[in-house]
């Protein structure tokens, strides 16, 4: 409980820094557990309000239940929801059978880049966590992206104490990562503590499987699990030695490294 409040205080501080420094700010929301906790933290930071738009990069291949959940919360929490889609690529028939990295690049990375460019966002808040996979462990809380949205992980600015990079040359933008220090268990503990509504794809509904990480339907597979409640999930995670994103096909080989260097979330 105390450790969750410490994580919360840090994330809230980062969110408020972001809101103070970026006039054109947006938050990415994939409806997964992490970005939904992030959204909740924004409501914490701004006392029930979410003073910036929520972006969803819709690949059109998301699991339908996720879209229903998205629209319901957007209504209930009065969110300014902005949905982006790489329509050109979809019209040209882009799908995962053309190659997972190719498909992710077109529909997610490029979909995101188009959205950022069209709306001119200079700060984008994301729910990535350092313990998810190797490249995300290298992130700063405030991480600059160049004119092409690329990430130069070799030459990142220093980040000292609670002082973050909030100034940047025109044409570039900053990715803001308030959840960097959270672990998968912390996310679920916090969902339980705050009673945050989450999508039930994360629970076993009787067939002995559940999703541990959510992405596009064709590239995300459920894991074997009998976790039917949040408590079950936390208990399961305390003992598992399977990586969280093992059900995410794009992580195979050097997938995530190539994707993230190029501006993937």
């Amino acid at each position: 409980m105390k450790h969750l409040r410490q994580l919360e205080d840090q994330s809230v501080y980062i969110l408020r820094e972001a809101y103070k420094h970026f006039n054109n700010l947006a938050m990415l929301w994939s409806m997964g557990k992490d970005s939904t906790v992030l959204l909740w933290l924004a409501r914490k930071a701004f006392f029930g309000h979410v003073p910036f738009p929520l972006l969803h990069v819709d690949t059109s291949y998301k699991i339908p239940a996720m879209i229903e959940y998205r629209d319901r919360l957007a209504r209930e929490w009065r969110l300014d929801l902005v949905v982006g889609q790489n329509k050109e690529a979809l019209a040209a028939g882009m799908n995962h059978t053309l190659g997972r990295v190719v498909c992710c690049t077109a529909l997610k990375t490029n979909g995101l880049k188009q959205l950022l460019e069209n709306k001119g966002y200079t700060g984008v808040i994301l729910g990535v966590r350092a313990d998810e996979e190797g490249t995300r462990a290298k992130e700063r809380y405030f991480s600059p992206r160049d004119k092409h949205g690329d990430w130069d992980f070799r030459d990142q600015p220093p980040e000292l104490w609670d002082q973050y990079k909030t100034t940047f040359p025109p044409g570039t933008h900053i990715r803001i990562h308030p959840l960097l220090d959270w672990t998968e268990i912390n996310i679920w503990e916090y969902i339980k503590l705050e009673n945050i509504p989450f999508i039930d794809l994360y629970l076993d509904k009787g067939d002995g499987t559940r999703y541990r990480s959510l992405g596009c339907a064709p590239c995300t597979t459920p894991i074997k699990s009998t976790a039917k409640t949040v408590d079950d999930i936390i208990e399961e995670l305390r003992h598992t030695t399977v990586a969280e994103r093992s059900g995410r096909a794009q992580d195979e080989g050097r997938g995530m490294e190539l994707l993230r260097k190029d501006g993937y979330m």
């Binding site: 408020r16 103070k20 029930g48 003073p51 290298k138 220093p158 002082q163 960097l180 268990i185 990586a243």
Partner: protein, 614 residues
């Protein structure tokens, strides 16, 4: 070997530092393996890559998450990984040891709660061993242990270990750093990491994991006097919420707060929170909090709230120890953005006292710049007064960073308050503000009624530059527009308020400026836009305008400088008028500046924007 795979909830951020190739990544690999913290398949994946590249497997490879790094054989950035041990999860910031990567090591250490510093038993104490030890101390990492690695390469000899311990303790002692423990280990072979070494029976101290277990979770500094750095002020709904992080001490509903450097005061009415029942009534160090006040005072980001008994220092100068990471050297006289807690203000390096060589702590004097990766003692001078503390007393409000162009390029700790020439007047203003008797009408009430905020337009310049003429014209224009403005002419003070002063006393700028400033302060408190010139002070206008600024702080000062030919205007001048002046155009420029500063609304009749505190 004890294997513990249950993931606990408590986290401790630790950083591993030390000279390049002294075995940081290997130690991490070993910690991971020995605590049973590796996900299934991770070990096999790394082994497969090693095989593919024709290399022998090493524990170090587990942490080089980027394949490119494995090709290069070095760790590039602060990669964070996790392992579990005895009810705690350790977040490891894998700080690299290569010289050019110092900024990443500093980024890692700045967020660490504890550190392990590695020294190679065969190579002994090297340059980066010393530099990192010194920087840990500068960055405020008080909990650390020294791990003497590769003991297998020196035949596990106690005399080698003892020699390193003695040498390094002496070095650390020069800046009063005391490690929790010196531990002889072989990370490669697993000696004294999780398991006690059979080969070093002469060592009876704790293993690396035992030492980590003994490190305390950094305790929030709740027992200190209160420090709340204002981060932002929100008005999303009916509540006007002041937010910020409590960096020290505690507060509760009803507490009387003083905001520095503006000296504004009010009581805490509520503590605001979302989805917390019942609504909290107090807060303590570490919390990101929101409060409402019982009075509508204007405070802004960067101010430090405290209780009246324990105020922070306020000055425009302080002495500091700084490390520089910028691509361009730090130069004396150049402008940088200073950030202390949430305050951002322009500053310049007033003097560089010495460069400190972290190898032997020798001091080099007489330098005009600080190079990349150097540490220096210097004095910084800020454009406006800043509230801060000495780092020895308060961590968060006693340290700062400098921003050069777009990047944080250096950081440091404040070691000494430097008294500036406004100290006496600032103290007068503080005492006067604290005791100021107020009526029921607030500053905001007056502003709403008048349709503008109070401010002072201060016109400086040499003789016969047209200051008085412009002042009269501006006053006329403001009143014609429906503003409440008043021309404060120093001549009137001389004949009345200053009539008790002797001719000699009237010639002294200090007392004349003080009286003038206090009168201006009174008029501003009535909600007026005061228009004034520094005419009565003659050529001492620079000194006088500084004094007036201090006394009317934090009311907006719109400084206008007039000169016949181009000359350096006083610091912080907003509008510079050079040469024969078009007085209509000059008046228009000043009005624009008043709008830009939020004193006047953009259009007559509209409500002004309150973006500055008063």
């Amino acid at each position: 070997m004890q294997v513990n795979v249950t993931k606990p909830s408590e986290n401790l951020n630790i950083v591993i530092v030390g000279h390049v190739d002294h075995g940081k990544s290997t130690l991490l690999g070993r910690l991971y393996a020995d605590t049973g913290s590796l996900p299934d398949g991770k070990l096999e994946k790394v082994q497969a890559i090693c095989k593919q590249q024709g290399k022998e497997f090493e524990y170090a490879f587990l942490f080089d998450a980027f394949l490119e790094e494995q090709e290069q054989g070095i760790t590039i950035d602060t990669a964070r990984t996790f392992f579990m041990w005895k009810g705690r999860q350790y977040i490891i910031i894998d700080a690299p040891g290569h010289k050019e990567f110092l900024k990443n090591m500093i980024s890692g250490a700045a967020r660490a709660e504890a550190a392990l510093l590695l020294i190679d038993a065969l190579e002994g104490v090297k340059e980066q061993s010393k530099k990192h030890g010194y920087l840990l101390s500068l960055l405020g990492v008080r909990q650390f242990a020294v791990v003497v690695n590769k003991m297998d390469l020196v035949g596990y000899r106690q005399d080698v270990f003892d020699g390193i311990e003695k040498e390094y303790r002496e070095f650390l002692g020069q800046f009063k750093a005391v490690p929790a423990q010196f531990i002889p280990v072989s990370a490669k072979l697993g000696d004294n990491i999780a398991n006690r070494s059979q080969a070093m029976s002469w060592y009876s101290g704790p293993t690396v994991l035992d030492t980590l277990s003994a490190f305390q979770k950094e305790t929030a500094r709740s027992e200190q006097p209160l420090r709340l750095s204002v981060q932002d002020v929100y008005k999303f709904d009916a509540r006007r919420i002041i937010t910020g992080r409590i960096t020290a001490g505690r507060l509760k509903v009803g507490d009387h707060l003083v905001f520095s450097p503006s000296n504004k005061r009010a009581n805490i009415r509520t503590v605001e929170a979302f989805n917390i029942e019942p609504q909290p009534t107090e807060g303590q160090a570490g919390q990101s909090i929101g409060i409402t006040l019982d009075e509508q005072i204007f405070v802004e980001r960067g101010e430090i709230a405290s209780h009246q008994e324990h105020l922070p220092s306020v000055s425009t100068a302080f002495r500091a120890n700084l490390f520089w990471l910028g691509k361009k050297p730090l130069e004396k006289g150049r402008k940088y953005l200073l950030r202390v807690a949430t305050k951002e203000v322009d500053c310049e390096v007033a003097s560089i006292h010495r460069i400190i060589d972290t190898m032997d702590l020798a001091q080099q004097q007489g330098s005009n710049s600080v190079g990349k990766n150097q540490v220096a003692e210097l004095t910084l001078r800020t454009k406006a007064p800043v509230a801060f503390d000495l780092s020895a007393s308060f961590e968060a409000t006693g340290r700062f960073v400098l921003v050069d162009e777009y990047d944080i390029a250096g950081g440091g700790i404040i070691t000494e308050l430097v008294h500036d020439d406004q100290e006496f007047l600032r103290e007068e203003a503080r005492r006067r503000d604290f005791a100021w008797v107020k009526g029921e009408v607030t500053v905001e009430d007056r502003a709403q009624q008048y349709g503008h905020r109070a401010a002072i337009v201060l016109i400086t310049g040499g003789r016969h530059t047209g200051k008085s003429f412009l002042a009269r014209k501006l006053e006329g224009r403001l009143v014609a527009d429906g503003r409440h403005a008043y021309l404060l002419d120093g001549e009137n003070l001389r004949r009345g308020l200053d009539a008790d002063l002797s001719e000699e006393e009237r010639g002294q700028t200090t007392e004349m400026a003080r009286r003038y400033g206090e009168v201006a302060r009174l008029l501003i408190d009535t909600g007026l836009i005061v228009v004034s010139t520094t005419n009565p002070f003659g050529m001492a206008y620079r000194e006088a305008s500084e004094a007036i600024r201090t006394l009317v702080h934090p009311a907006p000062v719109i400084a206008v400088h007039m000169s016949k030919t181009a000359e350096e205007p006083p610091p912080n001048t907003d509008v510079v008028l050079t040469g024969p002046t078009d007085f209509d155009a000059a008046t228009a420029r000043i009005l624009d500046e008043l709008k830009r500063r939020g004193v006047l609304a953009q259009a007559i009749g509209a409500k002004p924007v309150f973006q500055y505190s008063i």
